[in-house]
C-alpha cells in the first residue's frame, strides 16, 4: 500500500519531467530543486501563516510553476535561441540546480523541518483488511485528479493540441500560427506545478522537508522515465507505480541499501534491453539527437 502511494507520487513528479522532455527535448536537472522549493513554500505557508492544507498545496504548485518558468527564461531560453545541442541544456540546468540548492540550504539553515502535527487529520480505515491512512487516500486522490486534469488539458483542449503540435515539430507548428513561446511557458509552468505538488505530498507523507530532498527523487525520476519511455505520459505513471512498489518491497524484505542498487540496476538493464522504455515508441528515441 505504501508502495502504491509513493509510486503514484513518483509518477506525478516524473510526469512533469517527461512532459518537458517530450515537448522541449530538455532534461531539466533542476527539476528536483523545483520539487523541494514547492515543499518548502507550502511548509512556510502552513507554519508561518497558519493556513490550511489546501492553500498550502496551491501555494506549493504555484511556487513550483513560477520557479520552473523562471528557469526556462534564465537557463534554457538563451540556449534554445542559439539552437544549442541538448548537452548544453543539461549542463546549464545542473548549474541552475546548484544555485537553487545552495539558496535553499542558506534559507533553511540546513535544518530538517516538519509539518505541524495537526496539518492533516490522522484517520485510519480498513479496506479489505488493509490498514489505510486518510492521508494516503487523499494523496492518491490528488494524484489521480492531477493526472486526469493533465490528460484533459493535453488531449481535449486546443492548448493541448498546440502543445502536442510543438512536441511533434516546432517548425511546422510555427508555420501553422502556433506561438511556441507561449506553449513553452505553459509546459514549463505545468511541469513545475506538478513537481511542486509532488513536493508537498512527499513532505506530508514522510513528514520531513529539507534542502536535499529533491536529489533522490530526481534520480528516481530518471529511472521512472527511462522505464516508461522518454516523453511518454502513461509510461511515466505506470513506471512510477512500479518503481514505488519494487522499492517498498525491497526495503521491507531486504534492506534500504539494496533497494537503491536494485532500482539503479533496473535502469541499466532497461537501457540495455529496451532503450526506448516499456511504452516509448521508436520515434521518441530517434528524435533524441546526438550532441
Amino acid at each position: 500500500m505504501n508502495g502504491v502511494v509513493v509510486g503514484s507520487v513518483y509518477g506525478l513528479f516524473a510526469l512533469g519531467f517527461t512532459l518537458l522532455f517530450g515537448v522541449n527535448h530538455i532534461m531539466n536537472m533542476a527539476h528536483g530543486s523545483v520539487f523541494m522549493w514547492g515543499a518548502i513554500a507550502a511548509l512556510m505557508i502552513v507554519t508561518q501563516l497558519d493556513m490550511p492544507f489546501g492553500v498550502a498545496l496551491v501555494v506549493g504548485a504555484l511556487t513550483g510553476g513560477v520557479l520552473s518558468v523562471l528557469l526556462d527564461y534564465v537557463a534554457f531560453r538563451p540556449l534554445r535561441r542559439r539552437g544549442a545541442p541538448e548537452f548544453s541544456a543539461i549542463v546549464s540546468s545542473i548549474g541552475a540546480n546548484l544555485i537553487l540548492l545552495a539558496l535553499a540550504q542558506e534559507y533553511t539553515q540546513t535544518k530538517v523541518f516538519r509539518f505541524p502535527f495537526d496539518t492533516f487529520p490522522i484517520r485510519i480505515f480498513e479496506i479489505f483488511g488493509v490498514r489505510v491512512q486518510l492521508l494516503q487516500l487523499v494523496i492518491m486522490g490528488i494524484v489521480v485528479l492531477m493526472v486526469v486534469g493533465l490528460f484533459w488539458y493535453l488531449f481535449r483542449t486546443s492548448y493541448g493540441r498546440q502543445v502536442r503540435a510543438v512536441a511533434y515539430s516546432e517548425r511546422t507548428s510555427k508555420l501553422l500560427g502556433i506561438n511556441p513561446t507561449s506553449i513553452n511557458f505553459q509546459v514549463f509552468f505545468l511541469s513545475g506545478a506538478l513537481a511542486g505538488i509532488a513536493g508537498v505530498l512527499i513532505g506530508l507523507a514522510f513528514n520531513t522537508v529539507h534542502f536535499m530532498m529533491g536529489e533522490p527523487f530526481l534520480m528516481r525520476a530518471f529511472v521512472v522515465i527511462i522505464l516508461g519511455g522518454l516523453g511518454s505520459i502513461p509510461g511515466a505513471l505506470i513506471a512510477g507505480l512500479f518503481i514505488g512498489i519494487i522499492q517498498t518491497l525491497t526495503i521491507s524484505y531486504v534492506s534500504a541499501g539494496v533497494a537503491e542498487i536494485v532500482v539503479f540496476s533496473l535502469l541499466f538493464i532497461i537501457l540495455l534491453v529496451r532503450p526506448t522504455g516499456l511504452f516509448g515508441t521508436m520515434s521518441t528515441a530517434v528524435r533524441v539527437s546526438r550532441t
Binding site: 544549442a84 548549474g95 546548484l98 544555485i99 540550504q105 530518471f222 539503479f264 537501457l271 550532441t291
Partner: protein, 300 residues
C-alpha cells in the same frame, strides 16, 4: 619555494582536480556524454585504499593496480554504455555513480560503509601529483595529435560523417571509456594516498557537477581546457572565502554562464579566435603579394 610550500594542499587539490578533469575531458572530446568520472575516481580511491590498508600493498603498486583496474572497469561498463547515445548515456552513467555509492555505503565489510577507510599511508605529495599530471597530459596531447584524437573530433562533431569515413563509433567510444576509467581511477588513487582517509560521499553527484563545470568552463577540444578549468574552479572558491555560503551559487552561476555565453569554453574560444586571426593575416599577406606582383607586371 615558501609560497609553494605554504599552499601545498591547495596545489595538490588543484592537480587532483586537473586529473579528474582530464578523465571527463577524454569522454567529452569523443562525443560521449559520460558523467561517470566520479564513479571511476571512487573506484580508484577504494581500490588503492583497500589494497594498502587490508593487504599491505606498496603505494606505487597500489596506484598502478588501481589504474589498471579503472581501465578494466571502464572497458566493462563501456560494453553497454557505448551502445547508447546522448541523454541515455548521461542517465546511465549517473546511475553508475549511484550504484557505486550504494555499494560503497552498504558493503561494509569491504569498504567500511559510511565511515569510509582511514589510516591510508600518505605516499603522494605535490611532486608525485605533478608527475602524474605531466604524464597524463603528455599522453593526452600525443593522443590528440594522432589519428585517435582526430577520430574523436570527427565523432564529436558529426557521427554520420565519422561513419562514412569508416570510423567505428562504438569502438572509439569504448576507447574513450577505458581512458576515462584509467585516468579517473588514477586520480582517485592519488587522492586516497594523499588524504589519509576516504568516505563514499566524496564521490557522489556533487563531484560529477564540479568536474563537468571544469571541463565546460575550460574547453573540450584542447588539452589545456580542462587544466585551466580545474585550476580556475579550485582557486576561485579560495579567493572568495568570505562568501563561504554562496560558494555553490558561484559554481552554479559559472556553469550556467559559461555554457550560455562561452559554449566552447575559455581555451577553445581563444584558440579559435587566434587561429582565425592568423588565417586572416595570412590572407592579407597573400593579397598584398598579389597586388605587388600585378603592379610589377603592369610596370614591366
Amino acid at each position: 619555494m615558501i609560497f609553494l610550500k605554504s599552499y601545498a594542499p591547495l596545489f595538490e587539490f588543484a592537480l587532483f582536480n586537473v586529473l579528474l578533469a582530464f578523465s571527463q575531458y577524454v569522454v567529452l572530446r569523443a562525443g560521449v556524454f559520460s558523467l561517470g568520472t566520479a564513479a571511476f575516481a571512487g573506484f580508484g580511491a577504494y581500490a588503492a585504499a583497500i589494497l594498502s590498508v587490508s593487504y599491505g600493498v606498496d603505494p606505487i603498486f597500489g596506484i598502478v593496480l588501481a589504474t589498471l583496474g579503472g581501465a578494466a572497469f571502464g572497458a566493462l561498463v563501456a560494453v553497454p554504455l557505448a551502445r547508447l547515445r546522448g541523454v541515455f548515456q548521461a542517465l546511465a552513467t549517473i546511475a553508475l555513480v549511484q550504484i557505486f555509492l550504494s555499494v560503497a555505503l552498504n558493503w561494509t565489510t569491504m569498504t567500511g560503509g559510511a565511515l569510509g577507510i582511514n589510516g591510508i599511508p600518505r605516499a603522494v605529495h605535490l611532486t608525485e601529483m605533478f608527475i602524474a599530471v605531466l604524464v597524463v597530459g603528455y599522453v593526452l596531447i600525443v593522443m590528440g595529435k594522432s589519428s585517435l584524437g582526430r577520430s574523436f573530433d570527427i565523432i564529436r562533431e558529426d557521427e554520420t560523417v565519422a561513419v562514412s569515413l569508416g570510423i567505428s563509433v562504438t569502438r572509439h567510444h569504448r576507447i574513450a571509456f577505458v581512458l576515462s576509467g584509467a585516468i579517473g581511477a588514477l586520480a582517485g588513487a592519488m587522492h586516497a594516498y594523499s588524504s589519509y582517509s576516504i568516505v563514499p560521499t566524496e564521490y557522489g553527484f556533487h563531484l560529477v557537477t564540479i568536474v563537468l563545470a571544469m571541463v565546460v568552463l575550460g574547453g573540450r577540444v584542447s588539452v589545456f581546457g580542462p587544466i585551466l578549468g580545474a585550476i580556475v574552479l579550485t582557486i576561485l572558491p579560495e579567493l572568495l572565502r568570505g562568501f563561504q555560503e554562496y560558494r555553490a551559487v558561484l559554481q552554479g552561476a559559472v556553469l550556467m554562464l559559461s555554457i550560455i555565453f562561452l559554449p566552447h569554453g575559455i581555451v577553445d574560444t581563444m584558440l579559435g579566435r587566434l587561429r582565425s586571426q592568423q588565417l586572416s593575416q595570412k590572407k592579407v599577406v597573400r593579397e598584398n603579394r598579389r597586388t605587388w606582383r600585378e603592379k610589377e607586371r603592369i610596370s614591366a
